[in-house]
């Protein structure tokens, strides 16, 4: 009896904090999204689903939803493939693989604020690093408007995201490849398998657990992408790189449409949970 009371004491802080800050607040957001709350008092007038009706009829919001999904899929596919490719490259072995791994991981240390500052300079159309480099290499005709062009802005965000997270993916796969039992590879060699065949048929298929873990964590970052877009492009030009998270911030804190903003936030919540829960189940997290 004493044990269980003391145990409760150990469980209470996490339970209370997560209970309030995550679940009560998410429910509160859900409730606000069904009201006309304008930021005064705690609850507005109940108006049913009309915020959601406006949300799904609003072309700006739908554009943000599409951008969020496009960016998420592109980010996950590119970063996973890239990270795996680099891990295989490093594993094939040449001097300096350790240093290379450290270099790949370096961008992850930066906050999005820092990386946005760095890459705004990289992408600057006139004096920017990329265009300067292209001109130095006599490839000036390849110069791009980068973040100042509506057709390239989302792509630029993708590049920075890949830059930051691919090293992490490499790290996970590198450890995964190392864990492949040596006998498997020796057996394949005796059977006359080429290096490519060994990777294709043995090493890569054994990375299932790593892949699920990697995709889970990349999804986590993809769905909450805010800082980079907000700071690099502000969602522009012409809303071309607006995602749900920046849209939610803009309508809520710049236009004071609190209830409508809550409906955008709650949509993100539903989206995140619908995608994350099966993944968490798959990875057996928290069990």
């Amino acid at each position: 009896m004493r044990t269980s009371r003391n145990l409760l004491f150990f469980l209470l802080p996490a339970t209370i904090l997560v209970g309030i800050f995550v679940y009560c607040f998410a429910a509160w957001t859900g409730y606000l999204s069904l009201t006309d709350w304008r930021g005064i008092g705690h609850f507005g007038e109940f108006i049913g689903f009309s915020n959601y009706e406006s949300l799904f009829q609003n072309s700006v919001a739908m554009n943000a939803l599409v951008n969020t999904l496009v960016l998420a899929v592109a980010f996950i596919v590119v970063t996973t493939a890239w990270g795996l490719g680099v891990a295989i490259l490093l594993e094939m072995g040449f001097k300096g693989a350790g240093l290379m791994k450290a270099i790949c991981l370096l961008p992850l240390s930066f906050s999005f604020v820092v990386s946005a500052t760095m890459w705004t300079w990289m992408f600057a159309p006139v004096q920017g690093t990329l265009n300067t480099l292209l001109r130095m290499l006599q490839l000036g005709f390849l110069c791009q408007p980068w973040i100042t062009s509506p057709s390239e802005s989302l792509f630029c965000v993708l590049i920075v995201y890949v830059w930051q997270f691919s090293g992490f993916v490499t790290l996970i796969y590198f450890a995964g490849i190392r864990a492949v039992p040596q006998e498997f590879l020796e057996a394949a060699e005796i059977d006359g398998a080429s290096t490519f065949q060994k990777y294709r048929n043995i090493v890569v298929p054994l990375q299932k657990g790593e892949t699920v873990g990697v995709v889970t964590i990349l999804l986590f970052y993809a769905l909450r992408v805010f800082d980079l877009v907000y700071l690099m492009t502000g969602g522009g030009p012409a809303l071309s790189s607006e995602v749900l998270a920046t849209y939610m911030y803009r309508v809520t804190f710049n236009q004071n449409l609190f209830a409508y903003g809550a409906s955008v936030g709650f949509l993100l919540f539903i989206l995140a949970m619908a995608i994350m829960i099966p993944f968490l189940y798959l990875t057996g997290r928290g069990r």
Binding site: T3, F10, L11, P13, A14, T15, L17, V18, F21, V22, Y23, C24, F25, A26, W28, T29, H42, L89, M92, F94, A102, L105, L106, P107, L108, S109, F110, S111, V113, V114, A116, T117, M118, W121, Q127, G128, T129, T132, L133, W163, L171, I172, A175, T195, E210, I217, F220, R224, F226, L231, A245, Y249, G265, L268, A272, M273, L280, R285, G286, R287
Partner: protein, 269 residues
């Protein structure tokens, strides 16, 4: 032979891709305003620290704010994660699985889903625009991951040790104090670095829960530096480098601990 050449070529391209933005940033941060004309790639002729001095004069207060906020938030969330992780790791009780799942799931909630009530709540309890408000927020949203990391860490401590103590009549609290806590140092090293990194780098809560210089952390100050046309490029870059430095030092000098936090948080369940 060909594969070898190709892989070296690929590595060179990769190194350039990963390091070019960092090189440019450091390079530009060391230039004088006139030196900027030569472009971001041409190396700075002389090492000029004026941009750092100016960046610091604009963000110095924010650095202090950040340390005063990040250190307590890191320590409190790590400690509470340790006590919670211990309970989940060493005791079986009814509903443990579902409770842990719900706590860990909290890690995956997009901040936009709770942002409006959070700002309202923090304002209501009088902590808007204070470090305490940010500390409370970061402790709360840190619970899922610190609890999970410590639960996994304590999973590696043999059950026999705590079981025999229980037989001797030691309670939950005294087992934690006498046996678990002294064995926790490596776990704390990993978790505190993980938390320090996350909280130091966090932007959205800092942006929405503070206003003006008095409690603004570094991320917001650097973003403001970037937002103003008053700050020249070299000052912005110097600010970014200074803001990156504390975490960068962990990545360079405590790589193993950083990697451990990242992989434990990502792959293991």
């Amino acid at each position: 032979m060909n594969a070898r050449v190709l892989s070296y070529f690929a590595s060179v391209v990769l190194v350039i891709f990963y390091l070019l933005p960092i090189y440019t940033t450091v390079n530009v941060s060391l230039k004088t305003t006139q030196g900027l004309v030569a472009g971001p790639i041409t190396p700075a002729e002389t090492l000029y620290f004026g941009a750092y001095v100016e960046a610091f004069s604009r963000t110095g207060r924010a650095f202090l704010n950040s340390f005063m906020m990040v250190l307590p938030a890191t320590l409190i969330s790590s400690f509470l994660g340790s006590t919670g992780g211990y309970a989940f790791s060493k005791f079986r009780f009814k509903g443990a699985d579902i409770l842990l799942f719900l706590i860990v799931l909290g890690f995956y909630i997009p901040p936009q889903a709770i942002l409006i009530p959070l700002v309202k709540f923090i304002a209501d309890i009088g902590l808007f625009n204070t470090s305490a408000g940010l500390i409370l927020t970061h402790v709360a949203y840190g619970m899922p991951i610190t609890t999970l990391l410590f639960k996994n860490y304590y999973g590696n401590i043999p059950r026999d040790i705590t079981d025999s103590a229980e037989v001797d009549g030691a309670g939950v609290g005294s087992i934690y104090r006498r046996i678990i806590l002294p064995l926790s140092l490596p776990g704390f090293a990993v978790v505190t670095i993980f938390q320090f990194t996350n909280i130091w780098n966090e932007f959205l809560f800092a942006l929405t829960l503070t206003l003006g210089e008095s409690s603004q952390p570094v991320t917001v100050a650097i973003a403001n530096l970037k937002g103003t046309t008053l700050a020249a490029w070299n000052v912005q870059m110097a600010g970014a480098m200074m803001g990156a430095l504390p975490v960068l030092l962990f990545y360079i000098f405590a790589t193993k601990l950083v990697v451990k936090g990242l992989t434990e948080g990502a792959v293991k369940g």
